[in-house]
Symmetry: D2
Subunit: 72 residues, 4 copies
């Protein structure tokens, strides 16, 4: 049994866990950005929906004389 090989193996496992720690740190930062972009997109979608509803109402009002009730 090569004892130095065993020690090297533990040291290698330690080094790899160290690398993993760095990688997961980078990943965390990117997942954070992804979530932020996601939240931003959901808000933008809501605004677009509101603008589109407003625009839709605007169009109908312009094209007709009397609109009683509108729901989109």
């Amino acid at each position: 049994m090569d004892k130095q090989a065993i020690f090297k193996q533990v040291a290698q496992v330690e080094e790899r866990i160290g690398e993993l720690y760095e990688e997961i740190g980078n990943l965390k930062a990117q997942v954070r950005e992804l979530i932020e972009e996601n939240t931003r997109l959901v808000l933008e979608k809501q605004r677009y929906q509101e603008h589109l509803q407003a625009a839709s109402k605007g169009m109908k009002s312009n094209s007709t004389t009397s609109v009683i009730s509108e729901h989109t």
Copy 2:
């Protein structure tokens, strides 16, 4: 030096790495969903932008001469 304690420690590290493997698997599935939702939201945003541009043109057309129907 308690040798059984050393063995238990290696076994514990192994178990924890096994748990981590499961956790990162779950995380991968969720990141995949997050990315899919993101892509969907980006596409929806583009469609809203297009509809809004179309609606905006429609409004202008209505207020000027006479446009019967416009669809983009």
Copy 3:
């Protein structure tokens, strides 16, 4: 932000944890052997000590009346 790159990164972290799991498994097997060899050596040492004490007594018995030098 490149979303596919984020997904690849999670997948890579997962793969690396999988490799780590294998490595720690090998290491566990080797630490087990190391501990067994250690235990065997401790027992052998005890037997040698006993034999040496017996041999030392034997020497004394043989030399009976006059013992000039003694080493334990």
Copy 4:
């Protein structure tokens, strides 16, 4: 999909990898000690073997009148 839960999960994986890094560091120190003890025991065993051979020769010399060469 609960985005904050995803972020917490990445953060938890990161924390666990950090803990693993500490544990493997402790383990490395203990494996080092185990190997050192092992090496010490192997050397002691060799010395005992040599002493026992010397003692064995001594016993035979004492018990007999003339022994020219002995190899065990």
